[in-house]
């Protein structure tokens, strides 16, 4: 006989940041409580930016996340350039894609191997997995380093890059510096293709979800820095229209804001959404890898995200190699951006999904208002929806296996709680003072 089940995970393992999970399912399979609780303290970045010079913003926002600082730099720089009515041309455009390739490699390799693979291979952690799959982990460390080196050369350092500026880069990379990376990148491409094959053979839970996939889409390239915001259930919108269609709200159980469609619907951002909308724009090597891996792609199965991240890693490495091979070192990679009052909105594709920034700038170039909507804030309501849908299907499992499966589902999103808690609007409510 089935009985009520309470799943309580006080500290979610293998996610970036600190969160917990509470689910209650009745014997009849009704989910009466489902909360992905994010209790990592908020960090008030948006308030901190007010009054800062716009030139400081890329460096400050890079500190929101140690895993995806480039994404914050890209969204902020583009939004501030938009506020001045300037659009970046070459070589800045291509160099920004190259820098993003490095971050995608770093982030995807870290998540696929260290955080998500243990779920599928039956280990508690990457450490225990390494004892049996040492070559897989060593390959991942090698690949991660190739991504780090790319970010290091273009960004000035691999941790919180320093060369990104509003208007481009403080210094373009030397051609010889980039050429030196090619042997490692060529090896990383071979490794990445092997990774797709390896993870495509995993046994995936059978779980298809009819998502509202939201991502950038560009007619000529796999989305990173430019395009429109497209949806599988709604209209395509420009960056300036984004806040008319997607809105953040506070929920009592989370230190992170939840973003929903205006009207209340949840949506899904990240690799699955990008591949759903833009698979035909993958690099040919990645597209071939996706088609031949043996797993039907694109997919609406969240558990297959580990394969999609592997395919996107192939894309990032292959595109990086192409860019470096065609690179002509410019004298400068910095474009003039006039200081003027204005409002700029932009989104780019962080490894975990769409990252939206908007800024109001005054006539002296100072920030009047900032808004940052990270991928995890957008995915959090969808994660809870997924858990509500999946938990009743697991009632025949014992407590440990059911908990494991639900945690695994959360990790499919590669949630970055550190990013999601960058801001919390605090309302202090004082009870009325009794007069008597």
């Amino acid at each position: 006989m089935k009985t009520e089940r309470t799943i309580k995970v006080d500290y979610l393992a293998r996610v970036e940041g600190e969160g917990a999970l509470d689910i209650v399912v009745t014997a009849e399979g009704e989910v009466t409580d489902c909360r992905l609780r994010i209790f990592e303290p908020p960090r008030f970045f948006e308030a901190f930016l007010q009054g800062k010079s716009r030139e400081e913003v890329p460096d400050v926002t890079a500190r929101i996340c140690g895993i995806c600082p480039v994404a914050y730099q890209m969204s902020s720089a583009h939004a501030l350039e938009a506020a001045a009515g300037v659009h970046m041309g070459e070589p800045i455009r291509t160099l920004r894609r190259l820098l993003y390739c490095g971050e995608w490699i770093e982030s995807h390799v870290l998540h696929v191997h260290m955080l998500h693979a243990p779920d599928f291979l039956g280990y508690e952690s990457a450490i225990s997995m390494a004892a049996d799959h040492g070559d897989v982990v060593k390959r991942a460390l090698r690949m991660k380093k190739a991504g780090n080196d790319l970010v290091d050369i273009i960004g000035g350092r691999s941790v919180h890059p320093v060369s990104v500026r509003v208007g481009g880069f403080s210094r373009p990379p030397r051609k010889r510096e980039l050429k030196r990376l090619l042997p490692d990148l060529e090896r990383t491409l071979d490794d990445a293709l092997d990774v797709v094959k390896f993870f495509a053979t995993l046994d995936f839970p059978d779980k298809e979800i009819y998502y509202d996939f939201v991502s950038l889409s560009h007619p000529d390239e796999y989305p990173m820095n430019e395009g429109k915001v497209v949806s599988s259930k709604g209209p395509s919108v420009t960056f300036d229209e984004y806040e008319d269609h997607y809105r953040e709200e506070h929920v009592a159980h989370s230190n992170a804001l939840h973003s929903r469609r205006v009207g209340g619907g949840t949506y899904h951002v990240g690799p699955l959404a990008r591949l759903y909308h833009c698979m035909d724009r993958l690099h040919p090597t990645a597209l071939q890898s996706a088609r031949e891996c043996g797993v039907p792609l694109p997919t609406t199965n969240p558990f297959v995200s580990i394969v999609v991240r592997a395919v996107e890693t192939v894309h990032a490495v292959a595109e990086a190699i192409d860019i470096i091979n065609g690179y002509n070192e410019p004298a400068s990679a910095l474009q003039e951006v006039p200081i003027q009052a204005g409002r700029g909105c932009w989104a780019t594709e962080a490894p975990r999904g769409l990252l939206y920034h908007s800024y109001d700038v005054d006539e002296s170039g100072s920030i009047v208002k900032a808004k940052i909507v990270p991928p995890t804030s957008q995915n959090q309501p969808q994660i809870e929806e997924d858990l509500r849908s999946y938990a009743p299907e697991l009632m025949d499992l014992d407590q440990e296996d059911m908990t494991w499966k639900l945690e695994q589902l959360v990790r499919c999103y590669d949630p970055c709680i550190s990013c999601a808690t960058h801001f919390l609007k605090v309302n202090v409510i004082h009870p009325p003072v009794s007069s008597g």
């Binding site: 008030f44 901190f48 390799v109 450490i127 460390l141 941790v159």
Partner: protein, 172 residues
């Protein structure tokens, strides 16, 4: 930018410039993969980081690392560093893969505040010279051990892994 979070980088940069021995200085993010890559690049290592919950602000912690294992902890938690994914996990993974440093030391300084936009605290600022001096002393100690190993090797005494050390083998 975040209070005392940058104390390690500041101290290590100053210390590296004062060391007589060639030392490779690496700034590493808190994620486990980058830590393992850094740990695997030298058989001797000094790790310096801000700590949280390991004493009064400005106080120093010192823990030996032998064959990839932290030998003791300054307090009853596995996480000494202020980073979410700790040194302990990275050392464990490096040891499992057979790439852990043979010998090293963790030096931590307790921070007072990690708040965004706050300057370094007075307690940490005034403690930095002591931290720098400690790092320089530790580098000298590890190098002296290396010289002793070389002396022993010259006498035909096998010291295993440490025998392969050279001037570039110490990372900070």
């Amino acid at each position: 930018m975040r209070g005392d979070d940058g104390l390690a980088l500041e101290a290590a940069s100053v210390a590296a410039s004062q060391m007589r021995h060639q030392v490779q200085l690496q700034c590493v993010n808190g994620n486990v993969a980058d830590l393992v890559n850094a740990l695997s690049e030298a058989p001797r290592i000094i790790v310096v980081d801000a700590t949280h919950g390991a004493g009064e602000p400005g106080s120093l912690s010192r823990v030996e690392i032998v064959n990839g294992v932290l030998q003791s902890m300054p307090h009853d938690t596995a996480r000494v560093s202020s980073h979410g994914l700790g040194l302990q996990e990275a050392l464990g993974l490096a040891a499992t893969l057979g790439v852990a440093p043979g010998k090293g030391v963790f030096i931590g300084m307790e921070g007072a505040s990690y708040e965004l936009g706050q300057p370094m605290s007075d307690a940490v600022r005034s403690g930095l010279p002591a931290l720098v001096a400690t790092l320089v002393e530790e580098a000298a100690r590890l190098s002296a051990t290396k010289r002793r190993v070389q002396e022993l090797a010259a006498m035909g005494i096998d010291c295993g892994q440490l025998q392969s050390c050279n001037a570039e083998d110490l990372a900070l």
